[in-house]
């Protein structure tokens, strides 16, 4: 009963073109007369995990917010199976873990996770036994079983992050958007959260789009990496194709070494003297290209 609908698109994929869970086509967003996204194209298959990376201000969060319908955009964003344009319908297909979630004062973990059932139960109705069963299962799966009677405020950073993830999973959507899910977590907890997302993706066929700052983590988890720079996707592909010294220098203005590792490229900042502080673009141009 509680089984998560695995993205049915996977089966379609075998006899024909793989099905797209999310199809973003020439999406442009202007906020306060600043063009934040300038024609973004990105297609994500059902069950795929794509990490969106890019420097601060590149528009990563805005891209996720556009998929959620939180900002007005031009272009089109298709979500598999979603025909209805109402918010509650969208919330049954896409769940969101924001970078800095609002922690409601005094709210118990059980009630917080049950908020994820809002798009299914309707905003005026009480939770059904099914809703509570789903929430209980999610709490157990995320090792939060003992926390349900505590307030979200009283949890540690790692526990909070799992609680927010639990709320998103209780929504039982095919697509989950994670905005910097590892900020404010130590290395161990960063790994825990991403491993958890990975195993949930395998169990439930989730489609994951995440933004990540840590490039090594972005290479290790997920299938593809998309580089968003100045409002456009400039590269998208396997981590070892995309995460090169040149790409990172050009778009992040950072000098790094990329070490090949069987599990994916490892990105290490180098202690090379920084070029005089000019704009990142010109700094990048002056760097030697990858040997």
């Amino acid at each position: 009963m509680v089984a998560h609908t695995p993205a049915e698109g996977r089966q379609d994929g075998r006899n024909g073109a793989p099905s797209r869970a999310v199809r973003i086509q020439s999406v442009a967003v202007t906020l306060d007369s600043t063009q934040v996204l300038r024609g973004v194209d990105l297609e994500v298959e059902a069950g795929e995990w794509v990490n969106v990376i890019g420097p601060n201000g590149a528009g990563k969060t805005t891209l996720l917010r556009a998929v959620l319908g939180l900002v007005p955009f031009r272009g089109s964003i298709g979500i598999n199976g979603l025909r209805d344009r109402r918010r509650s319908a969208r919330a049954r297909h896409v769940a969101y873990v924001p970078q800095t979630p609002v922690i409601p004062p005094g709210m118990l973990v059980a009630d917080y996770v049950l908020l994820g059932r809002t798009p299914h139960r309707g905003v005026f109705a009480a939770e059904t036994a099914t809703d509570r069963c789903i929430a209980a299962e999610v709490l157990e799966r995320l090792d939060l079983g003992g926390f349900s009677e505590r307030t979200v405020q009283s949890l540690s950073g790692g526990e909070r992050q799992r609680t927010v993830l639990a709320r998103a999973l209780a929504q039982q959507t095919e697509v989950v958007l994670l905005d910097e899910p590892t900020t404010a977590l130590d290395l161990g907890h960063q790994q825990d959260v991403l491993e958890l997302v990975e195993s949930l993706r395998r169990e439930r066929g989730l489609t994951v789009i995440a933004t990540l700052h840590d490039l090594t983590l972005a290479a290790r988890y997920g299938d593809r990496v998309a580089v968003l720079s100045a409002g456009q996707i400039v590269q998208c592909g396997r981590p070892d194709e995309v995460l090169t010294v040149g790409t990172i220098a050009e778009h992040f203005g950072a000098q790094v070494r990329v070490i090949d590792d069987p599990e994916g490229p490892v990105i290490v900042p180098t202690a090379a003297p920084a070029p005089e502080f000019v704009s990142t673009k010109s700094a990048a141009r002056s760097l030697p290209k990858e040997p």
């Binding site: 917010r65 769940a95 609002v102 005094g106 009630d111 809002t118 005026f124 209980a136």
Partner: protein, 359 residues
């Protein structure tokens, strides 16, 4: 609404999951507070009347019951015609102000919000001041212009604040700031009118300080429909207000339209608050301390806070009115003085003795 569901235990995982909802025990405590306040309000006064006789007299008023309370006609009249309407008005005004306060706090996610946040008090104050100073058909009998002017002034203020706040931006902060601007402007107007008519000073100050005074059943009857409509709307939205607790953006991602929810509940709460102000003047502090005391005692969920604020707000106001009319009897203290004088120390005590984090 009360729901005494057993804790849910998942048969698959064995995890116990209890959703917060109003429990029968909590509802019982709230109702008990109301009964105690009502009986005290009917029993205590210049003429002492035994509690059991009051209860019999009340039961006698129920249709289909004919009981002899043993009260003389004069005492029965005191209970039925003087004290009962006043107690009922106290219940309605107290319930309205604390329910509206709880609603404002949830809708704006701000613990300092009260029903006067968007300028109701200033608008009603200006309306009442103009009506009093211009001596509009004073005592003409049919319709007292003061409450009408206060009601209209309060609603105009809220409407202007809401319109201005939405022009200013999308955040609740811009709405609150608009409310502050509107309130300051209207208070300035009121002060000007007041200065120009210093002979009406005492009447205006008396109106502002508030009172639970009745002449028969007309005030409770006026208040009742506003209370019923607002309570129905706000209680229906109690779960939606819990969703708003995660902020507008996350509420939207959960499929809720936060601006629509806020508009509906704030307008409903303002309507009843304006009605309460128009019959009772500006009774401060109730809309803040009652909801917060309920939160500290029973938890932060609006499923619990809203219904219990109705009950405890009503009970608190009846008791405050009891103090207001007995302490200096036969003179009466302004009730706003009592609510703050008793309410503030009590609230500090609650704050100091509770460990619960609700805000």
């Amino acid at each position: 609404m009360a729901d005494a569901r057993a804790p849910f235990v998942s048969d698959r995982t064995g995890v116990t999951l209890r959703a917060t909802d109003l429990r029968l025990r909590q509802l019982g405590i709230g109702l008990a507070a109301v009964v105690v306040a009502v009986v005290a309000g009917l029993t205590i006064g210049p003429v002492g009347i035994a509690a059991h006789r009051v209860l019999l007299e009340l039961a006698d008023m129920l249709p289909g019951l004919a009981l002899d309370s043993g009260l003389s006609d004069a005492h029965a009249a005191i209970v039925r015609e003087l004290r009962l309407p006043r107690v009922v008005l106290g219940l309605l005004v107290g319930a309205t102000l604390s329910m509206s306060g709880a609603t404002y706090q949830a809708a704006f996610r701000n613990p300092l919000a009260d029903p006067y946040l968007l300028g109701i008090a200033a608008g009603a104050g200006l309306g009442a001041t103009i009506a009093i100073t211009s001596n509009l058909g004073d005592g003409a009998g049919a319709l007292d212009p003061v409450p009408l002017a206060a009601f209209a002034g309060g609603l105009v203020a809220v409407t202007v604040s809401y319109a201005a706040g939405h022009l200013g931006g999308r955040s609740t902060a811009s709405l609150i700031l608009a409310g502050i601007a509107v309130a300051s402007f209207l208070t300035a107007c009121q002060t000007y009118v007041l200065q120009a008519n210093s002979d009406a000073f005492r009447r205006i100050i008396a109106w502002i300080l508030g009172r639970i005074a009745t002449s028969g059943w007309s005030e409770p009857a006026l208040m009742l429909p506003y209370f019923v409509v607002t309570a129905a709307v706000v209680l229906r939205y109690r779960r939606a207000l819990d969703v708003l607790a995660v902020g507008d953006e996350e509420a939207t991602a959960l499929g809720v339209n936060p601006r629509r929810v806020r508009l509906i509940v704030v307008l409903a709460a303002s309507l009843a608050a304006a009605a309460a102000v128009s019959v009772s003047g500006l009774i401060g502090f109730v809309g803040i301390i009652v909801p917060h005391t309920v939160r500290l005692a029973f938890g932060a969920s609006n499923r619990v806070v809203l219904p219990l604020s109705v009950l405890f707000g009503g009970a608190f106001m009846v008791l405050a009115d009891l103090v207001a009319r007995t302490v200096l009897s036969p003179a009466e203290l302004p009730i706003g003085v009592v609510t703050a004088f008793l309410g503030a120390p009590f609230f500090v005590l609650v704050l100091r003795t509770t460990r619960r984090e609700v805000w």
